[in-house]
Chain length 324, copies 2
């Protein structure tokens, strides 16, 4: 059994183009019905503003599968600790024997989440979209932007964050790349300047309205991963030209779709093409240059299995980690 | 972060009386509503007759909580591997930071399951019950018997197993203790000789019928932990004097109760006292010497949190394990 630490994993896994087909394959398998992916388990610790989520997925034909624990404890920064944390466990598909514990501290979750954003942008935004508006200024704000730059030639970045200091730090962190950087005074202003928008916040109130969105814009909403979180006005899902969930079973209970269903704006019987359906058949993606598209990412266990296997295989091949 | 292996854990955790109050406290907290315990997650890998279950529970006021992965891969013996496997992960309740990975290979699950059987017997069987019938001859058959001997003075053991060789091996393994040992030719014969009965099989068809059970008998059914498994004729739950689930939410979907509900023998509105209710107030337990009582054990996350914390604290105090 191999114990891998974050320091091992980051030597071979970073946000680069090689990861795109790995995560695409995961979504493709999910769309083809080749994945056994149980509902997410959540342990809420309200007293400490904390939660631990467990995600897992077995993909038919793969010799291992992952069970992932990801924690968010939102008072941690006051204690000088990161709010996110986590580990992945890799089990043998044939025997259930433990192959590896990946002590990635949430790094692989962050990475596979950003790559899903790149994939959404690749299949749903206009080819020549070159301006990105990022809502939020945390870790995913940075990673989503970097991931989008793997698939689109970006020359303008707009950011909005509730905390102006964080927006400044965000811009500061990108100042070395020779791009047009702008802090928007509102989400409305941000929308007026962006052809691609990514929402990356834990907001419980919608931040974007449909009327603010330019024709042809693609929006990736990746902040909402629990019942209360909500970044888009639920009407947007009905008004847009195409709504794409990462996994409709999940977005129905945790994502933006959840709120549109609750308000009876969309019928629970309506079936959307999942992101994997579009990767399998890209003609199901963006139809027209003027379309407004929305991708709703809640994060799936199959992405975790894909990236855990990728990290394990690379680290093992390079003799990293501790055998126990 | 402390990695504990099975060889560390077995030095300080074994099936003894000290564990009874530890697991009793877990059930008591559950009964008092002090536990956040999500539904069990299950990953089924039908191709290899395997499944991995994830259980978890946070107990208010405790500084850590466990998430447990337990696997059963039923073709493993053909490969010379045990069918059960597992590990527990202990997280800090305040920060979500990983405190320990307990590579117990299912040992702690086996132990806390047997202790739950001891607790059921302690509160529900007659004080002077001295004959135990064990149905099944696997690991839990042995452990349940040993656990019962912690709480009742047993002088007669009856065993029945589908596989006669295994029944012989079972008896052989207990031959050093000076007791009356008997292999029953049927479950009916076993029932006619037993004041306490424990069912420990993965049977999908009922093995016991109400008419076979002697007055005053206590039955612990611990084999059923998934929808299809079923050891007791569902009518027994209605006919007995007292039915006690470890956790009614779980037994309604996984345990013996599930089958009685499905056959409309018991209304889904009926509320039973859980095992923890009876530990909190033993007057809710057995009422009369002649009563037939049934305890339905599906295994709860709160037992896992209790035993993981117990094992971690003891191993840490004794400088065992590997700090990573």
């Amino acid at each position: 059994m191999l114990i891998l630490k974050k320091k091992d994993i980051i030597q071979h896994v970073d946000l680069n183009k090689n990861l795109i087909p790995i995560i695409e394959d995961a979504f493709k398998s999910l769309s083809k019905g080749l994945v056994m992916m149980p509902p997410i388990m959540r342990i809420d610790i309200k007293k400490y503003h904390g939660e631990s989520d467990v995600k897992a997925a077995y993909v038919e034909g793969l010799d291992s599968f992952a069970i992932k624990i990801a924690s968010g404890f939102f008072d941690n920064p006051k204690l000088g600790l990161p709010s996110s944390n986590g580990l992945m466990v890799l089990l043998d598909s044939k025997t259930g024997v433990l192959k590896s514990v990946l002590l990635d501290e949430g790094y692989l979750t962050d990475t596979r989440t950003a790559i899903a954003g790149a994939i959404a942008t690749k299949y749903l935004s206009n080819q020549n979209a070159n301006s990105v508006g990022i809502i939020g200024a945390g870790i995913q704000a940075k990673l989503q932007l970097q991931a989008i730059m793997l698939v689109r030639k970006i020359n303008k970045i707009i950011v909005w964050a509730r905390d102006q200091t964080k927006a400044n730090q965000f811009i500061e962190s990108f100042k070395d790349i020779n791009l047009n950087l702008h802090i928007a005074s509102s989400c409305k202003e941000l929308a007026s300047l962006s052809e691609i928008i990514v929402t990356t916040t834990p907001s419980k109130k919608p931040l974007l309205e449909f009327d603010w969105i330019k024709k042809g814009t693609h929006i990736t909403a990746m902040g909402s991963d629990s019942e209360q979180k909500n970044e888009l006005d639920p009407h947007m899902l009905k008004q847009c030209d195409q709504y794409v969930p990462d996994n409709q079973l999940q977005t129905s209970v945790l994502g933006e779709l959840h709120h549109a269903l609750k308000q009876n704006l969309i019928s629970s019987k309506e079936k959307f093409n999942d992101l994997g359906d579009i990767i399998n058949d890209p003609r199901l993606g963006r139809k027209n240059k003027e379309d407004i598209t929305i991708c709703d990412l809640t994060g799936t266990g199959v992405q975790d299995t894909a990236i855990a296997r990728f990290a394990y295989n690379l680290c093992k091949a390079n003799n990293l980690g501790i055998n126990i």
